[in-house]
Amino acid sequence: MKIVRSALLILCMFLFTCLIVIYPASQQQSFTNLKVVQMPFKPGERSIIRLYLYSDGNIYGISASTVPGSAGKVFRVKPGSDRVEEVSTLPGIWVPDVFFDSGVPAVFDATFTTLYTLTRNGKLVSYDSKGVKKEIGQVSGTRPYEPDGYQVSRTFFFDSAGNLYTAGKSGYLYRYAPSSSKLEQLDVRLPSVRGREAWATLDAAVVTENGIVYGGTYDGYIFVFNPLSGELLNLGKPLRQQRIQALAVSGEYLAGIGGDENGFPRSFLLNLRTRGFEIGGTIKAGTKLVSESIGACIQDKNGNIYLGTTGRLGNLFVQEK
């Protein structure tokens, strides 16, 4: 009788453990049931390359043109809405040459009074609220045997003090402090296989509430970085393909999408507690596979993840929390 009771107790504990470990994992966002946010734009004007969460709570975005003779569109979507509305410009700073160029990153500081970008040959540049340009310094390097082939990072991130970070030459992190106008190369490198440091640029990044940064590199590595301590840890490479297209934090998980630009985007989850990956697979909106790469990703204040795809028939999708 005692043995039976002990066996039952062990069984119950096992089942309970399974419930708290396995069940929550299956409830995390894994991009298999995206909802479409309707876009009124014609084919060829729908390649979404930028999404911004403004202080008014709305999401603003840029879709570039893939046909000659069209400039692209600027749009706004209110959280919870199922359609975008066209607007004439982004609120505040407006530099069309930067915003519509999918080959360079463009991010705002927290107050939306400064815009930061990298030029196609890897120079860090800023624009103030009046659109006045300031060249800050060279960040990117070139790839081996490509004297004009600058390996330019796709994005930036900020620390809690408002300092700007990106990856540059040979995979080193660069930090720009707006308060002192100081640009410096840190002694921190993005992860890469030895020999591929020149390709170790920043493809995607997300900052958690406690200031810890999760990022993805051009070669598809995921890392965690603490700006205060300067420690960077390589968490691994969930996909065989290169490129990390989108990252977002959802509860205990880092949700990501990766894949080559001409490849097939695939999702993954990183358990932030165990640091184990779950490979999610293809991305779906209803029954339809999403086959074009993600051009932009943003989370609204409610934790919903917005994804914009590129190409002739680019779309805006939302993965609700």
Binding site: P40, K42, G44, Q241, K284
Partner: protein, 406 residues
């Protein structure tokens, strides 16, 4: 006694009903065709849209050989012999297995004015949901090859992979501009291949997987895109347009599965899987407009005749072809019968059911699933039937002069 009488009445009723049904079935029209099985060494039971009548009167067929190498074979109707023209792996020198193999000729076989045959491969046995052969596999599918075969010189050429890791589908030819048009699977990009220069242009996503595309006299190419959209490529301004369909006529709009250009070049006929009506897309109604959200313009589709006369209910309509008489011929498979249907645009109120398709000399076989059709200049129609679990050998069937001008 009353109980016995009641039982006798029931028995009589059911016997009468059974005889009636049997009589009705026996009186159903039959359309017999001659069957020519495709050589077994070149396939494993199926093959799809890839069939065309060459300028030389031969029938060119692309097969599917899952996990292995697809073939382009040629049927000589006079000698009733088959020739194996292209073994995809032998020509490309690839040896991919499973999903990584060149295991299907699916794209429509295209015939140039000089008689040169164009064919293209894709991956087979697709895992449509996960696409493991694309991106994550260490081996992976290389991409579909474009081939040409010259019947006069018997030269086979491999023109290379059109899009890395993607198969090739669709197929239309512009014999004036010397261009081939396809779309890539799975990313659904519209592709134009210039025969003269050997160069490819990628126009981006079309949003759909049209089994068939149609090309009109102006060189404009049409196919189904997103739901309710017909895309159009216009060579005059080298652009893709998405046209929202405006429906006229009874019933609801269904995206067509098989389409064919009409004789006069002004319409495109279409039929849909389980589609209730034969459709006509009126090319004269194409309007490029700026006020259509998410699209570039509109096109009118008219639901015409019911796709099969009542009391039968519409079934699987997987293929279609224009006959030499200007009629649209398509199969309608309902239950265990495949009917040949003729739609005459001059009498659009009603289709003609030409009968249940049967194999001449083989009443035990069940020709059910048509995957491709083509028409010879004398009006003979060839249909390609898959075996589908040994219903019949994977074959082409000949319907002699079925669509001759009457």
């Amino acid at each position: 006694m009353a109980g016995i009488k009641r039982k006798l009445c029931f028995l009589l009723f059911f016997a009468t009903a059974g005889c009636f049904l049997l009589f009705a079935e026996q009186n159903e029209k039959i359309l017999e065709g001659e069957m020519f099985p495709i050589p077994e060494s070149t396939h494993n039971g199926s093959g799809y849209t890839a069939i065309a009548c060459g300028n030389d009167g031969n029938i060119y067929v692309g097969t599917a050989f899952y996990g292995s190498s697809a073939h382009l074979v040629c049927f000589n109707p006079k000698r009733k012999t088959w020739t194996d023209l292209i073994d995809a792996h032998k020509v490309t020198r690839e040896n991919g297995a499973g999903l990584d193999s060149q295991s299907k000729f699916h794209a429509k076989i295209l015939v140039d004015a000089d008689g040169v045959i164009w064919a293209a491969t894709k991956q087979g046995n697709e895992d449509f949901e996960n696409r493991p052969e694309f991106g994550e596999s260490a081996t992976g599918y290389p991409g579909g090859h474009l081939f040409s075969y010259n019947p006069r010189t018997r030269e086979v050429r491999d023109h290379g992979i059109l899009r890395k890791q993607e198969g090739i589908m669709g197929g239309s030819i512009d014999r004036v501009r010397k261009r081939l048009y396809y779309w890539s699977d799975p990313k659904q990009h519209f592709l134009a291949y210039d025969i003269t220069t050997g160069t490819l242009k990628d126009y981006g996503e079309i949003g759909g997987s049209p089994r068939y595309t149609a090309i009109d006299r102006k060189g404009r190419v049409f196919g189904t895109g997103r739901q309710g959209i017909i895309w159009m490529y216009d060579p005059s301004d080298d652009r893709l347009y998405d046209l929202q369909v405006t429906l006229e006529g009874p019933g609801k709009y269904a995206d067509p599965y098989a389409i064919a250009l009409s004789d006069d070049g002004n319409k495109i006929f279409g039929c849909a899987i389980n589609g209730e009506y034969v459709m006509e897309f009126d090319l004269s109604t194409i309007a490029i407009r700026t006020d259509i959200p998410g699209a570039d313009g509109t096109i009118v589709c008219r639901n015409r005749a019911r796709s099969i006369p009542e009391p039968l209910q519409p079934g699987d309509q997987h293929s279609g072809v224009l006959g030499t008489d200007g009629c649209f011929y398509f199969p309608n498979t309902i239950g265990d019968k495949c009917y040949m249907i003729r739609y005459d645009p001059r009498r659009p109120e009603k289709v003609e059911n030409l009968g249940v398709i049967k194999v001449k000399g083989h009443p035990e076989l069940k020709p059910l699933y048509v995957q491709g059709m083509c028409t010879l200049p004398d009006g003979t129609i060839y249909m390609k039937f898959i075996s589908y679990g040994k219903l019949m050998p994977y074959s082409i069937m000949k319907f002699a002069r079925l669509s001759r001008t009457r």
